[in-house]
Symmetry: C2
Subunit: 204 residues, 2 copies
Amino acid sequence: MPITLVGAHVNGKPNYLTVAFCGIVQASPAMIAVTLGKMHHTNEGIRENRCFSVSIPSRHMVEVTDYCGIVSGKRVDKSRVFETFYGKLEKAPMIRDCPVNLECRLADVLDFGGASEVFIGEIVESYAEERYLCNEIPDIEKINPIVFSMYDNNYWGIGERLGKAWCAGKNFGEVNDGKKVENDKPKEDKFHCKCNWKEIGKGV
Amino acid sequence: MPITLVGAHVNGKPNYLTVAFCGIVQASPAMIAVTLGKMHHTNEGIRENRCFSVSIPSRHMVEVTDYCGIVSGKRVDKSRVFETFYGKLEKAPMIRDCPVNLECRLADVLDFGGASEVFIGEIVESYAEERYLCNEIPDIEKINPIVFSMYDNNYWGIGERLGKAWCAGKNFGEVNDGKKVENDKPKEDKFHCKCNWKEIGKGV
């Protein structure tokens, strides 16, 4: 699971909660889902303001990220833990230190009959400093996101590159059934990058 | 994003599709979401049989995993690409080679107005060989799952351990506001492991 920080305005102040139950819903319109326990402080803010953010912390932020999952905004003011910035929506606080921030308009709230609820957000805009991009695309090696394994409850970094999608398996078909599989989506390699905060579009 | 293989019976045969838009919906009742383009072969099978599987391939399976994302079951028979096994549901084929397999009953299908649809599955059972477990818990270092970065379209391995959840951030609070944060969930370290396929429960 990916480690994210979900931001919302609660009682007029930014609040951030660590969330691992998070997944891309679809690419277009770009939507993301985050699951939060119903008792969390953040939920009220998302409902009230109909928006939230999903920020991707970098591995050097593992301590502060874990801290946001340990302490509740109900008893600790987390509004100054990070330097906050805003995008198009007024009440979706985002984190200056995070390499990628997604600004979301609340699209739906789902309840599957458990102790948590699922917030579906339409990604209105996404933000990254150019130093985290390569060829205008977020670069996972520069972002250094955190992966979470459950029950043993460990945080992990990203390891080595294993291959290219729509490419690594090309020869598998040839070897296994003599059938040529076309690589219909040739991918460019990474190249030189540039710098500073910019909108990187809805589709990220 | 995590790389998964979604399995379903289509026209009476197992079919497997590579999916990265996948996330945990909630822990209890245990539910998972996978997003599939509406045109995929797999979707018909999930609808017809009201069940599917989510399997976690290991890094040594990157070629065959990519292959399942390149070729469509509409034109290539993928039923023999893997050795299939079944659990409690009759038509949710799972992959013997994958370290973790989740067997899901279809709970809902969501459409947010794009070219894809979201299948919500209630995890009926999960399976792993004991050699992938540690202390009865799936061990990410043994599983060696694959992470996907989008637009640059690369597969990645898991890297080094960065810290323990509900623990790594304990001192952040002390340092930053003088407030002691209790670590209310002490975690055991990993220890000696055992072997062979077993059910590891719904909550994985």
